[in-house]
Symmetry: C2
Subunit: 505 residues, 2 copies
């Protein structure tokens, strides 16, 4: 390799890391906004984040970055596929080509608007007041539409947004995956619900003191391998995980003293994300080689820990005595099998993040259809509550009692994260395919879980997924790890093998 | 005024506000570092803060800023003394002339080093291990020495540092104030301690559960007028207050379950700073007109609320029933007068922030002498523990049992805040002079405090001090508000009138 190419690569990396560092500062301010910021501080915070995001964007779209990429490609510095260099040049180039089409002013306006819209959403959700949130949502959708037009798209404006979260995915490719899946899923949901069997879920609605929930949640996250010397758990309105720098990965949750699931499985979910972030290679921090592949792959990690591990019988064989110890008065009369059945209750419900594994993906399909309709101009913001409730009735046969439990429940739209939802279903499908392969490689995982041993699974995920960063794109990664392209079959197999026996279907 | 001057002024303000906004982002990261950052995240955090501080510095020292200042001065835009425009041009110019002499690389290195030194200090203090902190302190002092040489100074290198915190003050001017004060103070300390009278302080070392301390502390801060919708209270190693933006002022404290004073008076102290920050004019945010005058004036606010209000008998006439209610088991046998005498115990002690009002300034004099000696090259870092203990013996006639209670107790040196300590004594002197004037203007403050009414004092401080920002420099402000130049007399009068009767001297 010539010395000048090496120099160019070094400069490209330095510039990329600096941009990432600016964004990581914005991420600290964003985390703080969602956890600790005083109410009257939100306008000032919006200006701060907007400024930082604008600075990062401006630095990244510097033509010099394009020149360096061009020089490296022309010189063949990226010729060895999947090497560190090829990975970084490929993905920096991809991001650069997209970013340079977007005016910095639009980036800044979107950042400022979404921070304010988030504050408005928090208030609107509290009061179930869609009207007060409407002008903000209109503004966010308009900004995302401008963004889609600026960056361009293969067929649909919505494609431009999906691609931000799941590079390369489109309405068409996702639509195809969902189509076959939907048919099998709807049939299975019908059979489970029609089985007439139902666990006693009242045991989950007893009194679970918040401070004890926090202790048990931290125990579960620690058992999974989440390192609290490199991370934190805090409270928020809408749970999330964020990586703020090497050695600093933060997860958040919300507690309901009268419901066990929300915080416990929420913490396992976010800790699953957290393990991915903590498992990235620190020496590649700030470059694609040291960053997560896609949100779908991210979600595969969180859903695997939350559901395939956290809702398994083997997990509870180990963990139930601990839960009984800490919630002695609440759980002393409860049997393991009844508790396990209760946390695997399948039932149409209003809140996505609290939905069971079986009906969960129907929540996503509904959102995917609605977002797609926004961006084709077929759905107006005014009509959202009515359409939401209509689709809910269609898919889940229940009607939300108010918008707080309906179209106002999610943080995504106020945050401008449109195109993000489909990655949740992709995540579920990826997770089952990965988990099946992990079981093949690691032998009897259930026997390990029963002993409270989760380290082998964690190491397997680190080695096969986390440590690669963006070496492979999502579809390729699935093939490299499992030997097969993505399919909904492993997920349906997983559902059937778990819920079939529970519900006798 | 010509249109071009107006345009120049607008641009100068916009640039200044942007620089302030960058620094305010760094302040959020700094607050987080001192409250919630996971242990392994400190290197990454140091890089983030260093980058932001470097960006802010680079933007500020842009020659265009100098051109704008020059244009405005030449055009006479600052001709009306103490107007908003004159204030901003005067103080931006002062800061610019200083900043432009400092290389950005030094600013960044100092920022990164002090974040790491802070983490090292936290560990060293825990273990009372001066040796592990020594290399960091040497590095910090060396960087501050380089800084002093870069910006220049009238006589002493130490002057360059003092001027950062108390613009215009020097070793000479402060030395003069301290000289006369010291003589009177040492005499008074001797008489109080020699009086033979001593309150029963064991009542303050009973069990005070931390969660209740937090409630009582928040009640006190709220009663003072600190707005928790525009602020927060969190835990930290070394208490501080920081303004992070409009509507976002944060105070911190530390709790000792076996000592009442630390958190309670610490919270009142920081809330006093907080009221100043919350009282600044939001429409001038990010410019000198909307910023605090000096650290001495800042400290006058915190010390006034902590001591002149918080340790007064009238305050406790109102507050003691509340304290008794919340700490029922701890305080039920305690009489108001005994509690009041206990919180006013005068006794040589090791920890500055917990020292009584009378001996407090001796702690400062000792530090002032030591810092001055560093910067004359008369004191080596190696000798700090021995010299500290020697001076302690001289001033307070006691010897710290270890370095954690000695030279490792303060956060300042690790944070690069050298030249900061003298502002504490200036603050005490300012506070007494302001408080005497407030009493003149507002009548019987004690009668108001007894009724739990602190609003008039708060409004007086807002109107006479907070809302002016940097309109007047510290010395001028004292004259404008009180009609007299700074003197140690009001502070000695205050000490005598309060502690004379308590100790019969």
């Amino acid at each position: 390799m010539s010395e000048s190419l090496e120099k160019a690569y070094k400069e490209l990396i330095e510039r990329t890391v600096e941009v990432s560092r600016i964004y990581s500062c914005a991420a600290v301010l964003d985390w703080d906004q969602k956890t600790y910021l005083p109410r009257k501080g939100s306008d000032s915070r919006a200006q701060q984040i907007s400024m930082l995001v604008g600075m990062g964007h401006q630095k990244f779209v510097d033509p010099k970055v394009g020149d360096l990429i061009g020089e490296l490609k022309a010189g063949g510095y990226d010729k060895e596929e999947f090497s560190d260099e090829e990975t970084n040049i490929r993905e920096i180039s991809r991001a650069y080509e997209k970013a340079k089409k977007v005016p910095t002013s639009l980036v800044m306006e979107t950042a400022e608007t979404t921070v304010k819209a988030d504050a408005a959403w928090v208030e609107a959700r509290k009061k179930s007041d869609f009207e007060s949130f409407k002008p903000w949502l209109e503004k966010v959708i308009e900004l995302k539409r401008q963004y889609a037009e600026a960056v361009g798209y293969p067929k649909e404006p919505y494609d431009a947004l999906i691609d931000d979260y799941e590079p390369g995915a489109t309405v068409e490719t996702i639509g195809k995956v969902l189509e076959d899946f939907r048919v099998e899923l709807v049939d299975f949901v019908g059979r489970v619900i029609g089985s007439g069997k139902k666990p006693d879920t009242s045991i989950l609605s007893r009194h679970y003191p918040v401070d004890k929930q926090e202790i048990l949640g931290k125990m579960a996250a620690s058992a999974m391998g989440f390192d609290f010397d490199s991370g934190r758990l805090d409270k928020t309105t809408h749970p999330f995980c964020t990586g703020l720098g090497v050695g600093d990965v933060r997860i958040t949750t919300r507690y309901n003293p009268h419901h066990f699931n929300d915080a416990f499985f929420g913490i396992m979910h976010e800790a699953g994300h957290g393990l991915y972030e903590q498992g990235l290679d620190p020496k590649h921090w700030g470059t694609p080689r040291g960053e997560a592949v896609s949100l779908g792959i991210h979600e595969s990690q969180s859903r695997m820990w939350e559901n395939m591990v956290g809702r398994s019988l083997s997990f509870w064989k180990y963990f139930f005595p601990l839960a009984k110890g800490i919630f002695y008065e609440t759980l002393r009369d409860v049997k393991l099998e009844d508790f396990h059945f209760a946390v695997n209750n399948v039932e149409p419900s209003f809140i996505r993040v609290e939905a069971d594994e079986v009906t969960y993906n129907l929540h996503i399909m509904l959102r995917f259809e609605m977002e797609y309709a926004f961006f084709r101009g077929e759905l107006k913001v005014d009509d959202i509550p009515a359409v939401w409730n209509e689709k809910f009735k269609h898919y889940l046969d229940i009607t939300p009692p108010d918008d707080a439990k309906g179209c106002l429940q999610d943080v995504h739209w106020s945050n401008g994260l449109i195109g993000y939802f489909p990655t949740y279903t992709l995540g579920n499908l990826y997770s089952a395919q990965f988990f099946a392969k992990a079981k093949e490689d690691l032998g009897d995982l259930d026997e390990q879980f029963e002993r409270g041993s989760f380290g082998e699974l964690k190491q397997w995920l680190h080695k096969n997924i986390h440590t690669h960063g963006q070496r492979y794109r999502a579809g390729k990664l699935v093939e490299v790890v499992t030997g097969k392209p993505l399919s909904h079959k492993p997920f349906m197999d997983y559902l059937k093998s778990k819920f079939g026996p529970l519900y006798g279907v």
